[in-house]
C-alpha cells in the first residue's frame, strides 16, 4: 500500500520536474545552425548566429573529400587496387627516377608518373581503404564535407590536368627512345635485371 502511494507521488513529482525542464528549454535559445544558410566553415559566421558549441571544425580523422598530393604521388596504383568499388582510375607512364621522403618520412622512389588520376566522388563511400596502403601518404581524406555539385559528372575529380598529362607523356616518349638507344648500344647489359624492372612497373 505504501508503494502504491509512493509511486503516485514519484509519478507526479517527475512529471512536474520534466515539464519544468521542457518549459525552460522553450525559453532558451535554440542550438540549431541552419547549415546551408550559415557558412559553417567560418567561426565568425557561426558566432554571429549565436552558436556556442565547438568551433574547432571537423576532427582530424574525419573522412571527408579525398585529395591527392600529386607532388608525392608515385602513381603506384595501390589505391586503385584497394578501392572496393573502383572509383579511382589511374594510368601511368615512365618518368625520371626520383627519390624523396613520403609524408610519414618513409623513403620512396618514383619511376612512373600519372597521366590520369580520377576519383569519382559520386561512387566513393569514404571507407578510407585507399589512404591506408598509400606508401607516401599522397591520397588522403580531408576534413572537407561540403562538395555538393549540380550533376554526377561534376563529382569526378581529376588530379592530373591534360597539360600535365601531355608533358608526362612527352617525357616518357623521350625516356623510351633514350633507353632504346642504350639497348642498341649495349645489347647484353644484365638482361635479367631489366626484365625484373619491367615486371614491377607493369604489375
Amino acid at each position: 500500500m505504501k508503494g502504491y502511494f509512493s509511486q503516485m507521488v514519484s509519478g507526479v513529482s517527475t512529471v512536474f520536474e520534466g515539464m519544468s525542464i521542457t518549459l525552460a528549454t522553450l525559453f532558451t535559445k535554440t542550438a540549431t545552425i541552419e547549415y546551408p544558410d550559415v557558412d559553417v566553415r567560418s567561426d565568425e559566421a557561426l558566432r554571429k548566429g549565436g552558436y556556442k558549441g565547438n568551433l574547432r571544425g571537423m576532427p582530424e580523422n574525419y573522412r571527408g573529400l579525398l585529395h591527392v598530393d600529386m607532388e608525392i604521388c608515385t602513381a603506384c596504383m595501390i589505391c586503385m587496387r584497394a578501392c572496393p568499388i573502383d572509383c579511382i582510375v589511374i594510368t601511368n607512364v615512365k618518368c625520371d627516377k626520383r627519390k624523396f621522403n613520403g609524408k610519414s618520412g618513409k623513403p620512396a622512389v618514383q619511376t612512373r608518373a600519372a597521366t590520369r588520376f580520377d576519383i569519382d566522388l559520386g561512387k566513393c563511400m569514404f571507407c578510407g581503404l585507399c589512404s591506408e596502403p598509400c606508401p607516401t601518404g599522397a591520397i588522403h581524406h580531408t576534413t572537407e564535407f561540403h562538395f555538393n555539385k549540380g550533376s554526377l559528372a561534376e563529382l569526378v575529380v581529376c588530379f592530373v590536368t591534360p597539360e600535365q598529362a601531355a608533358l608526362a607523356q612527352k617525357r616518357a616518349a623521350e625516356i623510351e627512345s633514350e633507353e632504346k638507344e642504350k639497348k642498341a648500344a649495349e645489347p647484353k647489359d644484365k638482361p635479367a635485371k631489366s626484365k625484373k624492372d619491367d615486371e614491377t612497373s607493369e604489375g
Partner: protein, 406 residues
C-alpha cells in the same frame, strides 16, 4: 444562431433551417483550419522544447507550413493496399473524422453560444467519441497488415480502459450542476477562479486531473498514442494510408485536441463566464473561452513533448489501478463535500480560496524550478558555477513494487 437570423427579419422556420445549414459549414471549416494550424503550432513548440527550430521555411517563420502540407497530402496518390477490405478501409478515416466532428455539436463557444444545447450534452460527447475508435479498429482490421491490426486492437483496449475514468471524472461536475446539459454545466460556475469547478475543493481538482489525463488517452495524444506508436507499430492503423485519407486521419486527431480543451474549459475551468457587470457579451465570452481553450491545448502539447509513451501494459495498469480508484474517491469525496457544505456557503468560500492559494503556491514553486532550469541550460558545459541539483526524487518505486502486489 436561429435567434440571430430571426432578429435579422427572417421567417422563424426558414431561420431554423438556415441555422442547421450554417452551423455545420462554420464548424467543419473551423475544424479543418484549426487542425492544420495546430499541427504547425505542435511542431513549432516541439522544436523549441527540444532546442530546435521547427518548421521555418514556408511563410514567415514557417507559419504557412500547414497549407503546404495540406496541398501535398491532397495531391498525393491514395494507394490502396492489395488484399485490404476496400469498403471498410475507405470508410474508416471518414468515420474517425466524423467521430470528432460530431462532438462539435455540443462543444460550446463561450458561455452563451452552443450549436445544439442537447439536454444530454456531456453524455453525448462521451458516447460519440467512441465512434472514432470504431473507425480506428476498422482501419486496423481492413488494412491487411499486422501492425495496423495491433494498433486497432490497442485503440479498442484503450477506449474500454479510459472511458470509465473520463466518465467518472465528469460526475462531480454533473453533481454540482445537477444536469447533463452544457449550458447548465457552464452556468454552475462563476467568472472568478474561486468559482471555477477545479478550485471548488480537492476532489473536484482531482476529478479535473483524471478527466484531463483520461481525455488525453481517449484523444490518442502522446503519451497515450498507442494505436499509432511509431517506434513499436510503425504508425499502427495509419501505416497503409496515404494521400487524402491520411490527411483525414491526421485532421481528426488534431481536431480532437480542441474538443478536449473545450470540454475541460466548459466543465471545469469556468467556461467563458464574465463578471455580472459586463452582461451577456457573447463575443467577449467567446474570446475568454478561446483563450482558455488555447491554454489547455498548450498544456497538452507541452505534455506531449515532455513525456515518453507508456508501454501498453503500463497504460492499462495506470488506468485500472490508479485512475479508476482515484475517480471513485473524487466522486464520493465531491458528494460528501456537497453534503457537508450544503448549508454553509462560507465553508465553500474558504475551501475554494485555499485551493486557489495552493494552486498559486504550486505555480510559484514550478516557476522557480523553471528559472533554475533556464540557468542550468544557459550555463556552458564544464563551467565552474555550481547549479542547485533538482529536488531529490521520491523513494524509488521499483523497490516498493512488490508491496503493491502483496
Amino acid at each position: 444562431m436561429s435567434n440571430l437570423l430571426v432578429s435579422l427579419g427572417l421567417n422563424e422556420t426558414l431561420a431554423s433551417y438556415l441555422a442547421v445549414m450554417i452551423w455545420p459549414a462554420l464548424l467543419v471549416n473551423f475544424v479543418a483550419i484549426y487542425g492544420g494550424v495546430i499541427s504547425v503550432v505542435l511542431r513549432k513548440v516541439g522544436g523549441w522544447m527540444q532546442s530546435r527550430l521547427g518548421p521555418n521555411r514556408v511563410g514567415p517563420g514557417g507559419s504557412l507550413q500547414w497549407l503546404a502540407d495540406a496541398i501535398k497530402l491532397i495531391l498525393k496518390e491514395g494507394i490502396i493496399p492489395a488484399g485490404c477490405d476496400k469498403l471498410m478501409w475507405n470508410l474508416a478515416p471518414f468515420l474517425i473524422v466524423m467521430g470528432v466532428f460530431a462532438t462539435f455539436v455540443v462543444v460550446p463557444w463561450g458561455s452563451y453560444i452552443v450549436p445544439s444545447d442537447l439536454n444530454v450534452g456531456i453524455l453525448y460527447v462521451i458516447s460519440i467519441t467512441a465512434l472514432t475508435v470504431v473507425g480506428i479498429l476498422m482501419a486496423g482490421w481492413a488494412s491487411n497488415n499486422k501492425w495496423s491490426l495491433l494498433g486497432g486492437m490497442r485503440a479498442a483496449a484503450q477506449i474500454v480502459t479510459y472511458e470509465i475514468p473520463v466518465a467518472m471524472g465528469l460526475l462531480p461536475a454533473i453533481l454540482v450542476a445537477g444536469s447533463l446539459q452544457m449550458s447548465d454545466l457552464m452556468k454552475a460556475q462563476g467568472w472568478s477562479p474561486f468559482d471555477w469547478l477545479v478550485f471548488q475543493n480537492p476532489f473536484s481538482m482531482l476529478a479535473f486531473l483524471i478527466f484531463f489525463v483520461g481525455s488525453l488517452a481517449e484523444a490518442n495524444q502522446t503519451p497515450f498514442d498507442f494505436p499509432e506508436a511509431e517506434s513499436e507499430l510503425v504508425q499502427g492503423f495509419v501505416t497503409e494510408y496515404s494521400g487524402f485519407r491520411f490527411a483525414a486521419v491526421g485532421l481528426g486527431e488534431f481536431a480532437n485536441t480542441w474538443v478536449v480543451g473545450a470540454l475541460c474549459t466548459a466543465v471545469f475551468l469556468g467556461a467563458g463566464n464574465l463578471p455580472a457587470f459586463l452582461g451577456e457579451a457573447a463575443f467577449l465570452s467567446l474570446l475568454v473561452f478561446v483563450v482558455k481553450v488555447s491554454l489547455v491545448v498548450f498544456v497538452m502539447i507541452w505534455l506531449r513533448w515532455t513525456l515518453p509513451r507508456f508501454r501498453i501494459d503500463q497504460a492499462m495498469e495506470f488506468s485500472w489501478k490508479y485512475l479508476l480508484p482515484l475517480s471513485f474517491v473524487a466522486f464520493f469525496g465531491q458528494a460528501l463535500f456537497m453534503l457537508a457544505t450544503y448549508e454553509r456557503p462560507w465553508a465553500q468560500q474558504i475551501t475554494s480560496h485555499v485551493m486557489v492559494l495552493l494552486f498559486l503556491g504550486v505555480l510559484f514553486k514550478f516557476s522557480g524550478r523553471v528559472m533554475a532550469n533556464i540557468r542550468l541550460q544557459n550555463t556552458p558545459v564544464n563551467s565552474p558555477v555550481k547549479i542547485q541539483p533538482p529536488a531529490p526524487a521520491a523513494p524509488a518505486p521499483a523497490a516498493a513494487e512488490p508491496a503493491t502486489e502483496a
